[in-house]
Amino acid sequence: MTIKINGKDVTLEKEVTVKELLEVQKVEMAEYVTVQINDEILDRKDFETLTVKEGDVVEFLYYMGGGAI
């Protein structure tokens, strides 16, 4: 199945949970990444149960701190 992650098409062999998706995609510091699917920001506690479906538009949003120092 194909989904979109941060604007790019990604093909997955099978349906996975959000938690698994973060692992498969080797997202760094996944515990601090906000996940948005189809215009909804997920509750972190749903990561283990919610599965990603064909055609889902997924955004991984990252903390970005810099600016002044």
């Binding site: 949003l61 970005m64 701190g65 810099g66």
Partner: protein, 270 residues
């Protein structure tokens, strides 16, 4: 307020724009923008707002200029090393545009002072140019609670991102990022490095948002996160929903007072 001949000439490229004109330029000269942090983001933002004729610019920063700042913080010059950043910034702006009244706050923002700083001149728009999460969450919460629009941004390595909050119109920073990451978990520019121009791109977007807000023109980055990847030379505008679970602007907000979060130890100046 009537324009002098000098002002007509100085702002002629604005005045000729249909969406700005004499009326818009007056709005800019009468507007007040607060910039928190005069570093990588705040420096270019402050310079473009000053050049544009934003009449009152507040600068907040406790730091002094260091040699390692000059690779990107273009409001400060080599001769300014050792000088408080707000003073160095004020001097540059004064030389650039005498129309601008620069108000300096040589302070770190905290729950104890941020509301007073914003109230001081009743700023119209706030620019978050800070480098740390406690300050970013503090600015967000203060602006949500005080119903002030602000521009959030962050830069690191070859990447940057920014969003604009307007009260009642879209998500706040906390809608997207619920809480600051634990200290030391997410790298800062000091630890990870940053390409000097990143602040130029993103800080200038922040200045653009402030100007558009003041003029009431165009579409703001409310409900959008603009991300920039300099290596791929790719901008993306990600649509962001409001988060009804948001602790500060959601349906059942639990944050009613400002919070002072712990700063990463490695960021603290000795």
């Amino acid at each position: 307020m009537n324009f002098t001949n000098e002002q007509m000439e100085r702002y002629s490229r604005h005045i000729i724009l249909k969406d700005v004109g004499v009326k818009g330029q007056k709005k800019l000269l009468e507007s007040k923008v607060l910039i928190v942090g005069t570093g990588g983001l705040g420096a270019p933002a402050a310079m473009f707002l000053a050049a544009a004729g934003v009449g009152t610019i507040g600068l907040v920063d406790f730091d002094a200029v260091e040699l390692s700042n000059l690779q990107r913080q273009i409001i400060h010059l080599t001769k300014d090393v050792g000088k408080p950043k707000v003073i160095s910034g004020k001097e540059t702006i004064n030389e650039m545009n005498p129309d601008v009244d620069v108000v300096t706050y040589k302070e770190w923002v905290s729950s104890a002072n941020i509301k007073d700083i914003i109230r001081d001149r009743d700023y119209d728009f706030i620019i978050d140019g800070t480098d740390n999460f406690p300050a970013k969450f503090l600015i967000n919460d203060a602006c949500v609670l005080m119903e002030k629009p602000f521009s959030h941004a962050g830069i690191i390595r070859f990447q940057g991102q920014t969003m604009t909050y307007v009260p009642g119109e879209g998500p706040c920073y906390r809608c997207i990022f619920e809480n600051p990451p634990p200290p030391d978990k997410v790298p800062t520019c000091k630890q990870a490095g940053v390409l000097g121009v990143m602040g130029g791109i993103i800080g200038t977007v922040q200045a653009t948002e402030a100007i558009k807000y003041i003029l009431g023109i165009g579409e703001l980055l409310t409900g959008y996160l603009l991300t920039y990847d300099a290596l791929a030379m790719e901008f993306r505008k990600i649509k962001l929903p409001k988060n009804k679970r948001c602790q500060v602007c959601g349906e059942n907000p639990t944050i009613k007072e400002l919070i002072d979060y712990e700063q990463a130890v490695c960021d603290l100046k000795s």
